[in-house]
Each structure stands twice: as C-alpha cells, then as structure tokens.
Amino acid sequence: MTDPVLDVRGISKSFGGLKASDAIDLDLRPGEIHALIGPNGAGKSTLIAQIAGGLAPDSGAVHFAGRDVTALSTAARARLGLARTFQISMLAMEYTVLQNAMLGALGHRGGVFRFVRSVMRDHDLVARAEAALEQVGLQDFRAFRTAELSHGQRRQLEVAVALTLDPKAFVMDEPMAGLGAEGSQQLVGVLDRLRQQAPILLVEHDMDAVFALADRISVLVYGRIIASGTVEDIRNDPEVRRAYLGEEA
C-alpha cells in the first residue's frame, strides 16, 4: 500500500478538563475520500484546526507529504499543498470570482511582494485561476462580484480556490453545509472527480453525500475515533449505530 499523504499520529488536545482530541490516529491515502463524521461537539473542528494549523496539539504529531508539520503555521502548511476549505465561506467578498481564484494561484506561486506589474496581466496566474473555475463549473461567473454569488456558488468557489493551490491533499470542513439538494448533488459531482487529483479529508454532516463519496469513514465521538472502515463497515457497526447514526441508519 502507498504511504499516506496525511498522517495524524496520536493527537491529543484538552481544553481545561475537556478532552477535545483523545489520542487520535487518522490517515489519508492517495486517491481516496476519507470522511470524518461525528455528532456536534465531537471535536471535529478542533481536529481540523490541528491538521490545517492554527491550533497546536498537546501531544502527537501531524505528518504531511512526508514531513512533520506539527510546528508549522497555517500558511506554511498551505504552501506545502494542504488545501483547506472552510465551513463558513472565507472569501474576499469585494473581489470578483476570478480575483478570488487568483489569490490561491498567487499565494501558491509566490512573488506576492511585487508592486508594479498588474496582476491581471499575469497570464500564467489568470490561466491557472480560470482552469480551477472551470473545474468547479464557475467559468461563466468569473467577472461577478463574490458577494453576488449564491451560497452554493460560494461553496464551489471555495473549492476552486483550494484547487489553485495545486494541492497534495484537501481538508474540507462541511462543504455541503447550507446547500439544497440540487447544490449538494452538484458539489458531490465535483468532489467525486477531485479525488483523483488529491485525496480529500471530508468533514461532513450530510450523510447522503458521505455515503455517496467516501471510500473510508471515521467516526469521532467525544474526541475519540470510535470506528474506522468502509461505508459498509460503518453502516453495520453496532457501536456507531448506537452512538451516532441512531435512527438514521
């Protein structure tokens, strides 16, 4: 089996008496979508923050692309190719759709501290941004102000910006949040194709999307991974059914 792209080893994090992450092991292998599910308050956001940067674990390590990134900043991890999308859209709302995609292309390529040439005349950057927009189906909206986009389109744009980072792995925090059935379906289609480009760690509440997309599922409850396996394994796991899926399964 190939080495995992992202490897979380024994991460623990406590806030006061609360163990938000309790010796979590998790990995992401090339070509897969690994879904992370769990009830509210299970510690998903805490885990994401430790993987993407911004929150340092009390113990344990995060390995990404063959190196220990535990001590690296969010920005440094992003430069290594860890592309994160946010639960609440983190976009520059005054910018056009294209400009937002350019941010990713520019941030990834570097050369930000240049003051003279117009960035919109940088054909290489524009081409990369446009390619990403096309991949998520936003090419016709490139000149729209981001604030004018629908909620679903903003989610697509989040993914497009992540794509411009030429990522080695995606970490997606509830990309389906707030989407209607049609929007979810469309995004499921996009993500489904994306896994060939880079594996996705998918935190998601929408179980239809999870079951449609995931190659593997890990279940996080009270800061611990209580089960990990294929969709079938998880559906049939009695502990998971009791703790989480309940009447849904």
Binding site: G53, F113, R114, V119
Partner: protein, 327 residues
C-alpha cells in the same frame, strides 16, 4: 470613458488650472492654498495605503507627517546656521536641497512606520487604533520637550529649500514641484493597487484567514503596507513644512492624524484618487466655511457625519459609484 476616470481627470485638471490662473491673475494666496491641498493629498494617499488598502485604522499618522516635517526642519536649520548636525564619528551637515531632504523624510517615515507597525500590528481593531495613537503622542511630547529644535515653538526656516533649476520661492514653481510629486505618488499607488501585492493586501483586509489558507502571512502584508504608508506620509510632511517654512509639534499632534483621516474619508477610503478629492474638498471647506464662522469645524463635522452615514464611499462613492473590479 468611465465616470471614475473622468472624475480623476477633472480633479487633476482643476488642481493644475487653478494655480495657473491665479499666477496670471496675480493671486499668490490661491496658489498657496492649492499647494496645501496637493501636499495634504499626498499625506492622504499615504494614510490611504494603510487605511484603505490594508484596513489598518491608524490614528498615529501625524508621527510620520511630523517626522517628515522635522527631517526638513532639522536639516535646513543646520544648513542655515552653518552648524553640522553631527561631528563625530562622522561629519553630517545640514542641507537645503529638496531632493536630499525628501529622501531623508521618506526613509525616516518608513523606518518609523516599520518599527511602530511591527509592534502595533500584533494587535487589531480598537487596540491598534489606540496603540498607534499612543505612539503618535510619544513623538508629539518628545518634540515639545526637545529644546534644541525649538521645543513647543517649532523651527522657522527663513528661505525655502532649493530644487535644482527652479526658484522655489516663486509660489507657482514650488506648486509645480509639489504637483509633480503628487503625480508620481499617484501613479505609483495606482500601480501598486493593481499589483500582486495590492491583490493580496486587499484580501488580507477583507479576510485574513483566506490569506493564510493560500499560504501567505497577513502580518507581513500589513507591515509592508504600513511602511510604504509611513514613507509617503513622511514625504508629504517634508513638503508641508517647506510650504510653511515652519515646523512645529502641532504637525505631530493627534489632531493632524484626525484631519488626514477626515479627508481620506471625505474623498473615499480605498480609492486611489479618493484622498486627492478629499484634500481638495477639505481645503475648500476650510476656506469657505472658515470665512463664514470661526466655528467652521461644526459644519465640517456635520458634513463628515453626512458622508459617513449616507455616502459610505465618500465623494468618490457618491459620484463614481462602487469601485469597478479591475480585471
């Protein structure tokens, strides 16, 4: 042509035509007034770099403005008294040469902004406002209590500094120098706003988390913008002191910071030409309202309230509409 481009051209033409006419009509006061507007516009462009492009609400920009003023004052003071600024370890003499003074003012403004920014930018929001204000006041009180350079009374310079090939004591020639500097600063700012740096800085203003997620560090962008901002404001300070042939601690006071901010807001925050329109409007109001009443600041306050409440984009927002995305 877009309305914004027309407005830009109109303001620049007006600022040029007015003093030219005044020169023919022999109204030197009007030339001085316009020169003042041009210099304040440069200071506003400086503040706008931090406030408009970077979203950094600084109430300490008088520090850079005043430092530029004192850079001019101190250099010219030593030159007119034929005393060296420093004899040991190396001899540094004063100068009356504008280009040299500008360079010193720019470097001083930039260095001060780099240091103040490096410390202040660790905070955000209202704390950032307060800490920049505190730094500004530090410089103010330092200037007041430093008798070598006039203390509270400031420094008078008898003859305006020189620019190669020009007679700067002639108001229209000094105006031409300031106008040329304004054009250069405007052009540079306009390019920077559209550059890769401008794009990323704007993103850092709107959403710092986004900038981190694409692998960049907002702090570095802010600090660079703040430093450039300080450099431009310092240059404006040197010109301002040269216009008045006088520099005093009042240039460093927080009222000055407030005034610069007022006309940036009047003109339109974050618009390249906004401070130019704002400074021109400010001078116009000061002149016309000041003639009506001693308490003209009350009217200015009312107008500012109106702008903030009803015309959020300032004069530019009102006339040229929302900024067109530049692509």
């Amino acid at each position: 042509m877009k309305r914004e481009t027309l407005l830009n051209a109109a303001i620049l033409l007006l600022l040029l035509a007015l003093p030219l006419w005044a020169s023919v009509a022999d109204e030197p006061f009007l030339i001085t007034l316009t020169t003042r507007a041009v210099i304040l516009a440069i200071a506003g462009i400086g503040l706008n770099f931090a406030l408009g492009f970077g979203g950094l609400v600084s109430l300490g920009h008088a520090a850079f403005f005043g430092l530029g003023g004192y850079a001019m004052g101190i250099l010219a003071f030593h030159a007119q008294n034929y005393t060296p600024m420093m004899e040991w370890p190396l001899l540094i003499e004063g100068t009356k040469s504008m280009p040299v003074i500008w360079l010193v003012a720019i470097v001083t403004g930039a260095l001060a902004a780099l240091v103040i920014g490096a410390l202040s930018l660790r905070t955000a929001g209202v704390y950032f406002i307060m800490i920049t204000l505190a730094f500004g006041q530090m410089f103010y009180y330092f200037a007041i209590s430093w008798p070598a350079y006039g203390g509270e009374d400031g420094l008078s310079i008898y003859v305006r500094n020189s620019f190669p090939g020009l007679n700067t004591m002639d108001p229209i020639q000094f105006f031409a120098v300031c106008y040329a500097v304004l054009l250069i600063v405007l052009f540079g700012t306009w390019r920077a706003a559209r550059s890769p740096f401008g794009l990323m800085l704007g993103a850092a203003r709107q959403n710092p988390d986004r900038v981190q997620a694409v692998g960049q560090v907002p702090y570095r962008l802010y600090l660079t913008a703040f430093t450039i901002s300080g450099a431009i404001t310092g240059l404006a300070g040197a010109l301002f002191a040269d216009l008045n042939r006088f520099v005093s601690p009042s240039m460093l006071s927080w009222q000055t910071s407030g005034e610069i901010m007022v006309f940036v807001i009047l003109g339109g925050v974050g618009r390249v030409f906004g401070p130019v329109a704002g400074a021109a409007l400010f001078i116009l109001l000061e002149h016309t309202l000041g003639g009506l009443s001693e308490f003209w600041h009350i009217y200015l306050g009312a107008i500012l309230l109106g702008v903030v409440l009803f015309a959020k984009g300032g004069l530019y927002g009102l006339i040229a509409g929302r900024e067109v995305a530049h692509d």
